[in-house]
């Protein structure tokens, strides 16, 4: 299992909504879908919670810490403030 994204890489979170297609368990928060952030580091490899939640065999996936700027995600946020979120590799693509 090779983590494909390096620290510092600019990544975009898939603008996808599996919630609209049936029963799912998603750990990528809604407010990040379609947003661009920067990989801070590879946190390790873990089984896919989207499958574990349904007691299905789960692929091991790389997990990253990804940093986002507060605005433009939230206009109430202060410029310079950030949000740091754990995201699984399939949700990320190079931006």
């Amino acid at each position: 299992m090779t983590a494909r994204l390096a620290p510092g890489a600019l990544v975009r979170v898939r603008d996808d909504w599996p919630e609209t297609r049936g029963k799912v368990h998603i750990r990528t928060p809604h407010y990040l879908r379609g947003r661009t952030g920067r990989v801070v580091r590879h946190l390790g490899d873990f089984p896919n919670p989207e499958d574990l939640a349904f007691a299905r065999p789960a692929r091991i996936l790389p997990l990253y810490h990804v940093l986002f700027d507060q605005p433009p995600i939230w206009h109430e946020g202060s410029a310079g403030d950030e949000i740091l979120v754990e995201i699984y590799e399939p949700w990320l693509s190079p931006a």
Binding site: F46, L63, S78, L84
Partner: protein, 196 residues
């Protein structure tokens, strides 16, 4: 929830708990003794454990490095039982950077180290506001960050559980590690307050 005959959310919760308790005991899946033991073990975890880690990190650079590199190992080295708990991640505050921990999707919290999460941490209000207006949220606790300090909100969405390693307050150079630990509150290790 799709059980045809039983509408689980409408059942009186105490009755449902009693029924499950009896079934799990009868099936040998969770005896009353085991449940009592787990309650006692969970009660033993409290913010005081995290405070010990913070105080040691403030006084021992090698321990600080360990805590940041491997939080679980740092906890174990102080005799804190981690009992198959998820990996512990530690977020280092600096004068320019302050962390705030939340879990917008549920209530992920470093329970093995800090004990049960506070009621407010699990509330819809906290989960909604932490990522969107962290400075307004900190103001609910009277916390105002110095100018030039940015906030980094950490949304615990996956396998790690996060705690803050806050800045050591000014004027504490003479304090022992034990006295320092007494300064560190649960709210400091979540990030809604600063140690004083």
């Amino acid at each position: 929830m799709a059980e045809p005959g039983l509408n689980l959310p409408s059942l009186p919760p105490e009755r449902l708990l009693g029924a499950l308790r009896a079934l799990l005991a009868a099936k040998g899946l969770a005896s009353p003794a085991e449940i009592a033991e787990r309650i006692a073990a969970t009660d033993a975890a409290s913010p005081a454990q995290g405070a010990r880690m913070v105080a040691k990190a403030w006084t021992d650079p090698d321990y600080r490095a360990l805590m940041l590199a491997d939080g679980t190992e740092a906890a174990l080295s102080l005799g804190i039982p981690m009992r198959g708990a998820p990996p512990l991640g530690v977020l280092e505050d600096t004068p320019a950077l302050h962390h705030l921990v939340c879990c917008t999707l549920c209530s992920c919290y470093p329970r093995a180290v800090l004990g049960y999460p506070p009621f407010w941490y699990k509330s819809a209000g906290y989960r909604a506001r932490a990522v969107r207006d962290p400075r307004g949220l900190l103001a609910e606790w009277g916390t105002v960050l110095p100018p030039g300090t940015k906030i980094r909100v950490v949304d615990s969405t996956a396998d790690y559980r996060w705690m803050v390693l806050p800045l050591r307050p000014a004027g504490t150079a003479e304090l022992s590690e034990v006295a320092l630990a007494a300064l560190v509150r649960e709210t400091d290790m979540i990030g809604v307050t600063l140690p004083m």
